[in-house]
Amino acid sequence: MNPAWSVVLLTTLIGAGQGLYLALFAAQAPAPLMRIGIVLSLALLAAGLAASFFHLGRPERAWRSAAKWRTSWLSREVIALPLFMALAAAYGWTQDPAVGWAGVAACLALFVCTGMIYACLPFLQEWRTPLTVVNFILLGCASGLTLAAALAAWLHPELARASAIAALVVGALAYLGRLASLARNARLRPKSTLATAIGVKHPKITQIAQGAMGGSFNTREFFHGRPREVVRAARWTCLALVFPVPALLLLAGQPLVAFLAQYVGLLAERWYFFAEAKHPQNLYYQAIA
């Protein structure tokens, strides 16, 4: 797949916003930290929402996308995101635990919706695993907790140590989850081959022409077209910055730098998540002419 920056930003920004909300709620943070934290969480969610509009060909019709929540995880996400934002804002305003718990439920629902958008597609075998949903939750919580640690160090130093420890633990879990999915995907065998794609039972089939000389939507949307070095660099950036570097920075008492490094790592992680997924339609687009 060709990673779309709008979706990379959407999923990483709202993940951090959701994680931050969960961290604040779990810590029952005192007023100034809670207020500023909720505002920051809402800002991240709003930025993610704004980024998502750039993915649409017809953003002015975005309101229609809430219609098919019975069948479409994308539609469910479109409902869950503003619902969670509203509940998070309400909790920040009222500090009512009932509202807070409702916010937690909406937050988890949003995580599941976002993950299931990718995990529900049977054709993209790299995404078709519960690990996709688990990793969206863990990685979002990890970045939110690191951000919470940075906020606590600034506004409420008594909580700094606890939140840094939580960020380390959840970060390690998220890292393990991501390593597990990388290991799983490395062993995947594609279900479709050229033989099933065109229905000719022969082990050696080569494409001669794909029916267009200048490319098409199919070549632009499903191929990232980057050299192998770029993909490898994204993978190593992800592996280094999602947990090891932020962990060292947290231990060194630099939670804000840790969060920034981790966010860059998550951008690389999400980019690689898309780039590594091989769509079976690519079998039909192997050679131009």
């Binding site: 060909g57 994308l74 958008i117 479709s192 089939i205 200048g214 490319g215 499903f222």
Partner: protein
């Protein structure tokens, strides 16, 4: 049982002339589904929206190779994975004839349905920014103003070798059903359980067995083939120049 309209494409007959591609584009760029826009049409990298493309594959290793021309369009799956994922309901499968369509006025261009299609049958229009795909020429197959014989998709009418059959594959007596049944029709990527309605007929070896009695004119009562009298060398030739 409900109707399921579909194409049956005979790979044994397709010569890869792209007539179905051009007639599809011509009909649909000006019909209800149009326009199918092009970008940079006369430049170095022309690109555009098509419902139907003909691809070419080489099967085997030189010198034992075979060229397969492979027309590819939406397969109008009986269980289309692209439909339930659509967040707006713009993608839908018609109950009355099984055609999978996109409502261009509802589509938000999120491209999620194209991710959910293993065949790459959907393309975003570069100008209108909505998802487009084969409609089986829904705006002409029911057009009562057209003569009965022309109420078929444009690609089917254009095919010079009749490699494309059109019909209801739920009707066992239709031409399409019979071709699938009798000529080994198959579906693409059956491993995903999408149950494509469009089928393909395989390449076949066509041969002819000659029997001895076919080599001579058995309807010639005198059996005198090959024993016609030769004209004499000085007999007049047809052109009065050469001689026998």
């Amino acid at each position: 049982m409900s109707k399921q309209l579909a194409l049956v494409i005979d790979l044994n007959v397709c010569v890869g002339c792209h007539a179905c591609v051009t007639s599809c584009k011509e009909w649909n760029t000006q019909g209800a589904a149009g326009p199918l826009t092009d970008q940079n049409a006369y430049g170095a990298d022309p690109t555009g929206t098509f419902f139907n493309r003909v691809q070419t594959f080489e099967v085997g290793e030189f010198p034992n190779t075979e060229t397969v021309h492979f027309p590819k369009s939406c397969l109008h799956c009986e269980d289309p994975p692209c439909v339930p994922v659509c967040p707006t309901g713009a993608s839908y499968k018609r109950a009355e004839d099984g055609i999978v369509l996109v409502d261009y006025d509802k589509c938000i261009g999120c491209k999620y349905c194209s991710w959910a299609c293993p065949y790459g049958a959907r393309e975003v229009d570069g100008e209108q920014k909505v998802m487009k795909k084969c409609t089986l020429c829904v705006d002409r197959i029911y057009d009562a103003k057209l003569p009965e014989a022309e109420r078929k998709p444009a690609c089917v009418l254009a095919c010079p070798t009749s490699a494309r059959l059109f019909g209801d594959i739920h009707d066992p007596e239709s031409e399409a059903s019979r071709a699938i049944r009798e000529q080994g029709g198959y579906a693409l990527m059956p491993e995903w359980g999408t149950h494509p309605a469009n089928h393909y007929l395989p390449r076949r070896k066509t041969g002819k067995r000659l029997h001895a009695d076919e080599l001579e004119r058995h309807d010639n009562p005198l059996k005198v083939d090959g024993r016609l009298p030769r004209p004499s060398p000085d007999a007049p030739a047809l052109d009065d120049v050469t001689s026998w």
